[in-house]
């Protein structure tokens, strides 16, 4: 087969399809979104009947994947790093239940926070759950490791975590495919109580997981994904995890590093390999994207061994993703210097699109709140978070998916009345509904503005689980029908919308205002498609 030019995300998707995947479960989140999108668009995946609809959130995705694994088939669940926080309950317990059909969890980290709220390192979750973690260093490995992850999962009856970072997820390179494996047949676990985590059973299952640890490490020694590359100069030894390996070799002619290097791609990292490296060198440099997870392990609390350099001793900055020059600096290698950037350059932060419905919603909200003291709008995660910036400067919080409604409840409880929540439609069904139920049960004096652009906008316009359901969900959760208002955020409706919001701000109970107008981007795409279809039918 000819090589395909694939994003790291796409290589994972193709790798999963070729490994005999039966279903992918995910909620969109940069930089993981393209995995599921690739499977949704893949003709092969369609022919093979691989399910790929979006889930309401990462927890529901994770649980559905566990269900598919229980039924004996191979399931992939994908999320961005903070999505793993949402799925954590199911994820950690899946390590205790173990897997039946191959169960692979993909978490895409975002060091340097290109599109995120933090730069947490998913490898910690793998260690926490005590399951194998794979970390590819390039697109080909992303493809190969995905296939290997399913095999590993079925061999040991355990979920396997694959960790990538933005740089690999969104970088393209040639990938060589191998033959396509069949999907599994439906087959339930031999022990039908394996997934029943009653304490008495969970204790047994946990002991089994503990018993597998040595085998996980043994596999990481023989899989080929951890390699000790021997060299003659023993002044320094380098441990390079995932992508960091590329940044290391980039600094050397023909990629020949003069020092021994332990290239890490699978965790737990085998003690044998680490000891072999440690014993032969004077000092060690640890290169890893994300937190200093391995560096800290190696150093130990008392740091009374050989000198270990990395993020903890300042050889590498604590925050942000690695790059070739950071590695060069840490090793004292001289680097090229480009032209100085002139001072005339100004920042160009992202902004809401021209004609975006959110702009009109926030202009109305800003005006309705003019007679109140500032600082009472709790918001959420989506395009509308950009309303924190100039010129709108409308919102005062963005913490995690769904937090707008629940933070408004707490602030109202503390006496900040009225408190306002602004949340997108997809975020609302992701994690806002339970908060709204709390608000109803509390009779909290809050106004919830659901910014319904009928899509998951920020990640590129994926189908929103909320589509066509918001009004009935709010009614069902017990919001009084008189206080569910639907407005159309358009400039020409401004006065009317301000009045609706003002009235609800004066109501001492839960109000929901649904500001509904389609995302300008998805609308544009829809119109283009329609025009093309019309042209085709005319021909």
């Amino acid at each position: 087969m000819q090589k395909l030019l694939l994003l790291g995300d796409e290589a994972i998707a193709q790798g999963a399809i070729d490994a005999g995947l039966s279903g992918v479960y995910a909620y969109p989140g940069t930089p993981s979104t393209e995995i599921t999108e690739y499977i949704q668009a893949s003709r092969e995946a369609k022919e093979r009947n691989i399910r790929s609809n979006w889930s309401a959130n990462e927890k529901t995705a994770m649980e559905s994947a566990i269900g598919m694994s229980y039924a004996g088939k191979k399931a992939l669940v994908c999320m961005k790093h903070v999505g793993l926080n949402v799925a954590a309950d199911a994820f950690v317990n899946a390590a205790i239940t173990g897997a039946n059909g191959g169960l692979v969890v993909l978490s895409a980290d975002d060091p340097s926070m290109h599109s995120s709220q933090n730069e947490q390192d998913s490898r910690f979750y793998g260690k926490f759950a005590m399951i194998p973690v794979l970390e590819p260093s390039n697109q080909q490995e992303a493809y190969d490791m995905t296939r290997y992850a399913f095999a590993l999962s079925e061999k040991f009856g355990t979920p396997v975590l694959i960790r990538v970072t933005t740089r690999l997820a969104h970088s393209r390179a040639g990938v060589q495919r191998v033959e396509v494996l069949d999907q599994n047949d439906l087959h339930l676990p031999s022990n039908l109580k394996q997934f029943v985590l009653l304490p008495s059973i969970a204790r047994k299952q946990y002991n089994q997981l503990l018993g597998k640890q040595a085998r996980f490490e043994a596999d990481a020694l023989t899989s080929g994904y951890n390699q000790l590359i021997e060299k003659d100069n023993h002044k320094l030894g380098i441990i390079a995890c995932g992508l960091a390996y590329n940044y290391l070799i980039e600094n050397f002619e023909d990629h020949q590093v003069p020092y021994p290097v332990l290239k890490v791609g699978q965790y737990p990292v085998p003690h044998d390999l680490v000891r072999k490296l440690y014993d032969q060198v004077d000092e060690i440099l640890v290169l890893e994207d994300g937190y200093p997870l391995f560096e800290e392990l190696l150093k130990g609390y008392l740091n009374n061994g050989k000198k270990i350099m990395g993020r903890l001793d300042g050889s590498i900055p604590m925050a942000g993703e690695l790059n070739p020059n950071i590695v060069a600096h840490a090793m004292g290698i001289p680097v090229n210097v480009g032209h100085q950037n002139p001072t005339v350059i100004q920042g160009r932060p992202p902004s809401l699109c021209d004609g975006c419905s959110h702009t009109d919603s926030f202009l109305a909200l800003n005006e309705a709140l003019r007679n109140f003291s500032s600082g009472r709008v709790f918001s959420d995660i989506g395009c509308y978070t950009l309303s924190a910036l100039k010129p709108l400067e409308s919102i005062n919080s963005c913490v995690d998916m769904g937090a707008s409604i629940t933070m408004a409840i707490g602030a109202a409880d503390a006496g900040l009345v009225p408190s306002v929540a602004s949340i997108g439609d997809s975020t609302f069904t992701h994690s806002g509904m339970t908060g709204l139920l709390d608000a109803v049960n509390n009779n909290s004096p809050i106004v919830v503005v659901i910014l319904d652009n009928s899509t998951t906008g920020m990640t590129g316009g994926q189908q929103s689980s909320a589509l066509g359901k918001i009004d009935t969900i709010c009614l069902g959760l017990g919001v009084h029908p008189d206080h569910i208002k639907i407005i159309t955020p358009l400039r020409r409706n401004h006065e009317e919308n301000v009045k609706v919001i003002t009235d609800e701000l004066n109501y001492q109970g839960v109000s929901v205002i649904i500001a509904r107008r389609e995302c300008i981007q998805t609308l544009g795409r829809r119109m283009k498609l329609k025009a093309m279809q019309k042209m085709e039918s005319n021909n």
Partner: protein
């Protein structure tokens, strides 16, 4: 052969299309490539960049090391300057359109920007929008810039043409012809500069 290229612009200006055309042509020539893109939040009217690395030998890093880019190809003048820190000071070329994309209140004066660009030892500035408009649509400005950059790519011009034919195939023959014209017009501008 090795070419490290930074592509720069504002979200929606079509720099990924430039990358795809170069990448497709590079594959025709049997080159290896890596291309790091920017997706997600930074796309929304913000600055975007892509690192495109071509080589006859294996490529390690997805990111071009600072100070080592052979080319900065930009569809916007201020954005072109944002990446000159990435450019090789001794050998690097800057190829940019001189058409500002103004979606901010503190956009600097075009004269100042052009002065900075012209101050660089190796630069090509073109009025890509004017050329694209004459061809029928300002949207082809990105391909005009690619045409102007083509003499510096070490990739055969007819392979770039073939790449355009394959990439725009599903959009119909009109789009193919428009973009081929845009590519050639950009090339002419660069050649005229001499």
């Amino acid at each position: 052969m090795k070419k490290d290229i930074i592509l720069a612009g504002v979200g929606g200006q079509g720099i990924l299309t430039i990358a795809t055309v170069i990448g497709t042509a590079a594959l025709m020539e049997g080159l290896q490539l890596k291309q790091a893109e920017v997706h997600g939040m930074s796309q929304r009217g913000g600055d975007v960049q892509s690192h495109l690395r071509l080589s006859s030998k294996p490529i390690a890093s997805d990111l071009i090391p600072e100070g080592k880019a052979d080319l900065v190809i930009s569809v916007e003048p201020m954005e072109s300057l944002r990446y000159i820190i990435m450019m090789n000071k001794e050998t690097g070329w800057l190829i940019t359109s001189m058409n500002p994309f103004i979606n901010m209140s503190n956009y600097p004066s075009l004269e100042e920007l052009l002065a900075e660009i012209w101050n660089l030892p190796r630069n090509v500035t073109i009025d890509a929008e004017k050329v694209a408009k004459e061809l029928g649509t300002v949207k082809a400005a990105n391909i005009v810039v690619l045409g102007a950059a083509s003499p510096y790519l070490e990739i055969k011009f007819d392979n770039l043409e073939k790449a355009i034919e394959s990439i725009f195939a599903e959009k119909g023959n009109d789009m193919i012809q428009l973009n081929l014209k845009a590519l050639r017009a950009g090339r002419e501008l660069a050649d005229k500069r001499g």
